[in-house]
Subunit: 352 residues, 2 copies
Amino acid sequence: MSTSLKEIASIVGVSTTTVVRALKDRPDVKEETKQRIIKVAKELGYRPNILARGLVTNRSFTVGIVVPDLTNPFFPELIKGIETTIWAKGFNAILADTDYDLVKEEAAIESLISRQVDGIVIAPIESRRDRAVYEMLQESGVPFVCMSMVQDLNTDLVIADDEAGAYAAVRHLLSLGRRRVAYMGSSLSPRADAERLSGYKKALQEAGIDFDESLVLRGDQRDVDSGQSLMNEYFASGRTCDAVLSFSDLMALGVMKAVRQRGLSIPSDVAVVGFDDIKVASAMEIPLTTVSIPKYNLGEEAANLLIRRIDQLKGKKDTDKRSPGTVTFQKIVLRPTLVVRGSCGASSKTGQ
Amino acid sequence: MSTSLKEIASIVGVSTTTVVRALKDRPDVKEETKQRIIKVAKELGYRPNILARGLVTNRSFTVGIVVPDLTNPFFPELIKGIETTIWAKGFNAILADTDYDLVKEEAAIESLISRQVDGIVIAPIESRRDRAVYEMLQESGVPFVCMSMVQDLNTDLVIADDEAGAYAAVRHLLSLGRRRVAYMGSSLSPRADAERLSGYKKALQEAGIDFDESLVLRGDQRDVDSGQSLMNEYFASGRTCDAVLSFSDLMALGVMKAVRQRGLSIPSDVAVVGFDDIKVASAMEIPLTTVSIPKYNLGEEAANLLIRRIDQLKGKKDTDKRSPGTVTFQKIVLRPTLVVRGSCGASSKTGQ
DNA sequence: TTGTACGCGTTATCAA
DNA sequence: TTGATAACGCGTACAA
């Protein structure tokens, strides 16, 4: 099919070894033959077969990216951060979307290992039964970085500071005079949810406000409708609030819809704050105040950490690959920033 | 590193051939040895090296996906459609984001070819100078499917019917009594832009309305701000309109902002219609009427077409690979649907 | 029922 | 300055 070193060699009348040297522009080839080889290679449109190369070098220059749902606006930016970073270092990305399906997640990881990826960045589903999958991955020896905590497993980790994010948001709301701040969490991300709730409580406590369990709701962060219906139920049950911090911007949009349907206005009656800072958050009629997560940077950091791991793994010649006692995992935590826009009722200059 | 057939063979005390047969559950292996082999393979966590396999079978079971910008909400759904479809057939996806950079697009394609992908799905940048890149790709012999037309090149193509989409939208607006309908196009997608403009004109003509060049604007479809500033300029120049069809939902959001800033109301003063139907379109305070493009389906169709191409290419044993005269390219056109919501002023039951 | 031998395209080692 | 040769892990004729 495609031209190989051997073909070039036979055409030019040299050995493949010489062809390799010429194409890699090594100094130890006669200039004339080098030129002849390069010329023929160009004419034939020679492209190295990276698979074959990987077979001998034991490096595929490929990393796997595993996410639960591409269409969640959170992930494309993250992936872009990863892809751009690894691309700059000569790596390609194999992408797998698990659809929040544990079976597919496991299959995806198996497939990636079979494809000899040099490493994996993975945003776990956060199922209660995902531990086994990650233990399998650890045993495989393929380095990987998680974008959220997997139960009590020790892994490399790159995450946002959820507690600090929620804390800043609630603190801000309280400083604006809000007193009944609802927390709309998500049961799909129990770890992050717990962190945020903790930040929420901390802010309340500092302001001397008692924690009120009835102000805590939980739904599905991926879904506008979830935020809306949750908020509707909340109102329907006779409860009230003057502010809502929701787990995602998508949910926050749903909250806004519900609030309006209730005939209340934003932000005067109810302040709404989201989480993530997706692109359209600023484009709403009432621009959404939100805890902005540096998604692209998270991707960058994860990619850089992973590549470091790969280098230190493949770097050492053949000193025993696993020295399980020695490994210290890294945990990189990025601070989110509160982006104040219209929906929280602050008189801000930001976010127009 | 990872266990190979050879290792298993030497442990069990048979040849690699036998191991292969056992692992593929061929009938011509003694049941007992088969079980022994399978057992050992399991214990050692054997995983076939797909790269090595590809070297001999000349099939990598990988397809490349090339898009100009992952964070444009249009693409994740498209990619998901592709990825899910090919995954079901045993393929993995290598993803490349070109950042609307022709140089990176070419590099990405080269890289994919070097990685021996079996095929490529590509959403072209639509630069004026992209032709060379695609000719290179054609010469490589790797089958590929385009998600938009590349100049006057003949390729497999899977696209939405832009003309029909725009036509339906404008027709609807006119049926609601709108008379000055602005068309906000995009200079980044000249082909689709021309198609839509044509649909726009067609609808006007049928209604007996003269085409007015001053109602046509052009900006950057990726950007909310572009829609906003374009619309601002429009108003500032003293022009008016009672409806706007914009090239993307993102742009439409910008238009809505500008209209409100102008003190006009939606939809009574100005009806706004978008294109794409991104997730949040329905979550706006005034839900956005839009021409819904079946992004996921486009991805599915592209993937299926590509896999058909791959099969028919690799299927034939070794009858000359390129019979350039014989190839007939396919063009699959999917119809978009107009989703009527609040922003166009129809009294609809849809889209709440 | 099992094994031998070769090839896929590349890199690496050693020798000339 | 150049070339044999082996090796990576797997698949497949061809034998036995």
